[in-house]
Amino acid sequence: MATKKFMFVNRKAPYGTVYALESLEVVLISAAFEQDVSLAFIDDGVYQITKGQDTKGIGQKNFSNTYKALGDYEVTKLYVEKESLEERGLTQDDLMDLVWEDEDDDYAEKPSIIMVSRSEMADVMAEQEVTLSF
């Protein structure tokens, strides 16, 4: 099977709609197909990976820990847009510390989050072959 560059674009906050949860389910399945997968967190999508999500008060399952497993599924490129954080009064410190283990480097833990500017994000998007939006 061919290898294509897939990008999953996340622009919505979690819990208010189902898109964040169901798009994550697609990402996990994509790992089985050994494609070159990237995630983009733009606009309200940055809220999907904030630290300290506590959903007890709203009766929904907290699925934020699933993002931590992405490294194990070889999904290691999570592009986060700086301007989207800034517009929302957030910094990278507000985000979960997402890592992957590089088996070619003695399983050293490396960050999965790649902070990019808006124009760098545009460049990354332009390289993709299949872009899925939710």
């Binding site: 674009v9 622009r11 733009i42 606009d43 808006r118 994000m121 545009a122 460049d123 998007m125 332009a126 390289e127 993709q128 072959e129 299949v130 872009t131 939006s133 939710f134």
Partner: protein, 102 residues
């Protein structure tokens, strides 16, 4: 690789259209469908941003969606082209990839 950006929400309802314009690159095409068609009309608070994008991108609107919302083509920003669904398909063929800004 040139990209076709498909926008479907009104720029007055959601930020998607604005976000699309913030990420589209020179040589890309932008197609307005569904409620995004309202963005084609000149003289709105969104027009300047769209006109600026048109300096190096091609902008299209699906004619059926414009007409459905009671907006006539002669009120469009100069330089926006109308297409029908056959033209929509052609745009997806001519551009190597598509991205939908929902």
């Amino acid at each position: 690789m040139a990209m076709l950006h498909i926008v479907n929400k009104s720029p007055f309802e959601k930020v998607s259209f604005r976000s699309c314009l913030n990420h589209a690159k020179a040589g890309d095409s932008i197609l307005m469908i569904e409620d995004a068609a309202v963005g084609a009309i000149d003289g709105s608070s969104f027009s300047e941003k769209l006109k600026a994008a048109m300096a190096d991108k091609k902008v299209y609107v699906l004619s059926g969606d414009l007409a459905a919302r009671g907006l006539s083509e002669d009120r469009m920003i100069d330089g926006i082209k109308t297409v029908d669904y056959a033209g929509f398909v052609d745009l997806t063929v001519e551009n190597e990839t598509t991205q939908s800004w929902l």
